[in-house]
Symmetry: C2
Subunit: 481 residues, 2 copies
């Protein structure tokens, strides 16, 4: 009976979290601007009720009872993950959690102004406060070798700073050299007009299976995806005259959404029925972004869609433009080869900040040094340097690594996929991605939260996380071998 | 302290109900079709959590404590209405509530098929079941003279079958005569093409104050409105080649939404901060539909918007067409004069069904007799007769009267408004509705749930509900005095 009560509670939490995602999606795509304050109230209430239901004493009672029962299969996994989530949630005192949330919210407000004025000093006090709270947060947990590991566990349970350092260590030197060597001097290809992009995005998505029966595509300032329900996937993109981000972002978000859709049906409405970690989630978006959307064969599909939208697309020029290496200041518009170097820098810095090796006032200089060392670019001002991302201002330390780990895992998965299925060029030129979807479903998606990041990578590829596949992919992209 | 706890709980319930409205809006306007089953789960969970929080023993404890305190002003009103809602919710056993919901849901499914086949016999068992359950539901409550009164209280607390019978008694005879006398033989004016309507609807709404800062207008199969937040109002309409319902429906839904927006700010996030009843809500939509959108002066505004949308609109022809009396079979497309007669019939029938004077198998014949008697039309089949509405199949007995009471109250309010402010023709021709909005805010909207239907009508107009103002309005519409 107790497993029934636990499962019912988990289903409640799944539904509340779906409603929360719906409300967030609506806020970013549909809500009239004046709805903002009301929406904050609604989301805060939802969050509070979900927290109460996730951390109530009755949940602890069910878990204790269940842990002495001989459970098997999914039920055993449900209890194992429920225990982990319950303990993590209960260990953070309510006051600290509220203080972290308040400081994060204030930090973001301060950051907006500081970035606009390119004034790091204006952000420094809020950053110091967030760091103090992050350390207090880390101190709530036992069993971690380093404070940073405790923070990382919120995003990627089971990863450690040491593991990230090892993988990034394999990556950084060779990649920095490759970027220095491969930087493209070629002029960028002309960007298709917005109208052609607006026609192409849904056309490309429809060809890879994002039909109107179960998907929506909308516009938002920053592209994102949500699964509101198992068969209700929503992705957004944005359209500009300066790049072809619209198509790339749509494929990226498609990858996130597909992951959630292809989790095994028997995990639906349980605590196992969602993506396992930030890194693995990002690997799914990066796989569709880097290995499908930027694949030379898939350029034909994009070009056809742009042509149908009134812009004569040339696959070769398109592909060249989508993979050109141009080391630059801003992470979110970085090319696919130099992108992980932006993350390597952020990881080094946030690790040093959390562990005390770097003081907040020294952060801008360290940032600028790192950009020079890793990407060979000079940072002209903090707005296009250390102030460009909102994460630290929002108290998110430990989040950044997943962006680069996602790139690495994607490359590793793609190699394994092509090893199993053979080269995908022919299928990709026809937008036939059924085999890719099937392989991902079987090796990655269906497991939900049953496997953590590195065990999942091992299960899918036969090896732990490593940098070599990404480096091989990067070399092939730029034609350096 | 206890009032603080009660207020906090009420705020929770307000937020949960806003999320529920958002999810329902999304389902009808945005959701990919495959999201349906997931959305049902989400809404059911939300409803269950809200019910738990509304009916928990702790709420009863707070109310008992507060009822012995010397509260004043809003706090006293919060407690009075909370007690009413709490007692009503607690008196219905959980099993009965679930059974009512299940039967309603099944009844709607059966109704879809029965209407499609024009087969009343197929619906009859579900209807009998709904009626039994409605009687059981009514029996849960004390203090009502008749079972129907207990059902009515779910929609219009304080109204009684006797009161509705009295008001409809004043209405039915004179209105049926007027309809018979005034039925228009004139051919309908040409309907503006959909593109012109699609341009006109937002243009007209913008002129009466539904700006993009706080409003949305979308399309749905059946027009509706929701206030997701205090400053987030969403209305829908639908576009067709056969009538100008799009503009009429938009103004109707604007009236509902404006009511919620103009409730006094100090009632926000309390149990008082919403419309008081179905009848008063419908009076607000009907006021904007019948007295603004169908006002001869406002035809100029609609015509201008249609002209800007590419269809040369003629105010006189437009107005004539919007008020032409054409007794017909279908309630939702009835003209504004004959509309309440459709409701008078439904009220007579559902009252007899609930109180046992009419058996389910005799319902179609009674319906057809009534249509002949009240509207002078012959019903060719049950699909366009007794099967046209979903309400009874969904177990909603006691809901129908509000549709006609809304028309009557709107006319009564409009007379009072013009008595206070003078004729509105000049303002309406310029879409200047500031005085109308202000009067409604002061006399009707700001009170929220502090006044029930009839006390509110008395407060706003100095008289109880009556049929005479609507009859005067109807006569003026058709030029019969």
């Amino acid at each position: 009976m107790t497993i029934g009560a636990l499962r019912e509670r988990m289903a409640d939490l799944i539904d509340l979290s779906a409603l929360s995602r719906l409300a967030a999606w609506d806020q970013r795509t549909m809500m009239p601007p004046a709805g903002g304050p009301g929406r904050s109230d609604q989301l805060a209430t939802l969050e509070r009720l979900a927290h109460e239901r996730a951390t109530g004493d009755e949940v602890g009672g069910w878990l204790e009872a269940l842990e002495s029962e001989p459970l098997e299969g999914i039920d055993a996994e449900i209890v194992r993950i429920a225990r982990r989530d319950f303990d993590r949630a209960r260990r953070v005192p309510g006051e600290l959690a509220a203080e972290i949330e308040r400081a994060a919210s204030e930090g973001q407000d301060v950051w907006q102004a500081a970035r606009a004025a390119s004034d790091f000093a204006a952000l420094a006090p809020a950053l110091r406060r967030n760091l103090e709270l992050a350390r207090e947060h880390a101190a709530c947990f036992d069993g971690f070798a380093r404070p940073y590991d405790a923070l990382l566990a919120d995003y990627d349970f089971g990863l450690t700073a040491a593991r990230v350092q090892a993988v990034f260590g394999e990556l950084a030197g060779p990649l920095a050299s490759l970027v220095a060597e491969a930087s493209s001097g070629a002029a960028a290809a002309p960007v298709p007009p917005v109208a052609a992009q607006q026609a192409a995005v849904p056309a490309v998505l429809a060809r890879i299976g994002a039909d109107e029966e179960g998907w929506r595509v909308d516009v938002s300032a920053h592209p994102f995806s949500v699964g509101v329900g198992l068969r209700d996937s929503r992705i957004t993109t944005r359209y500009g005259e300066d790049d072809l981000l619209s198509v790339i972002a749509a494929l990226h978000e498609f990858g996130h959404a597909l992951y959630e859709r292809q989790i095994a049906p028997e995990l639906a409405r349980t605590n196992l029925g969602t993506g396992t970690s930030m890194s693995v989630h990002e690997s799914q978006s990066k796989l569709w972004e880097n290995h499908v959307a930027r694949h030379p064969a898939f350029a034909t599909v994009i070009a056809e869609a742009l042509t149908a939208g009134g812009f004569p697309g040339d696959p070769v020029a398109l592909h060249t433009s989508l993979v050109a290496v141009r080391p630059s200041l801003i992470r979110v518009s970085a090319d696919p080869v130099s992108y992980p170097l932006h993350i390597v820098l952020r990881f080094e810095l946030e690790l040093a900040l959390v562990e005390g090796g770097l003081e907040v006032p020294d952060l801008p200089a360290a940032w600028n040094d790192g950009m020079r060392r890793l990407l060979g670019v000079e940072v002209p001002d903090d707005a296009s340097g250390v102030l460009q991302d909102t994460h630290w201002a929002a108290g998110a330390f430990g989040y950044f690594p997943s962006y680069a780990l996602g790139c690495l895992i994607a490359a590793q998965l793609w190699e394994a996929l092509e090893r199993d299925l053979g080269p995908q060029d022919e299928g990709l030129a026809r937008a036939d991605v059924a085999a890719i979807r099937g392989w991902l479903a079987e090796r990655v998606h269906r497991h939900g939260r049953r496997l953590d990041t590195e065990p999942l990578v091992e299960h899918a590829t036969g090896r732990g996380m490593e940098a070599a596949p990404f480096l091989r992919h990067a070399r092939s992209l730029v034609g350096v071998h």
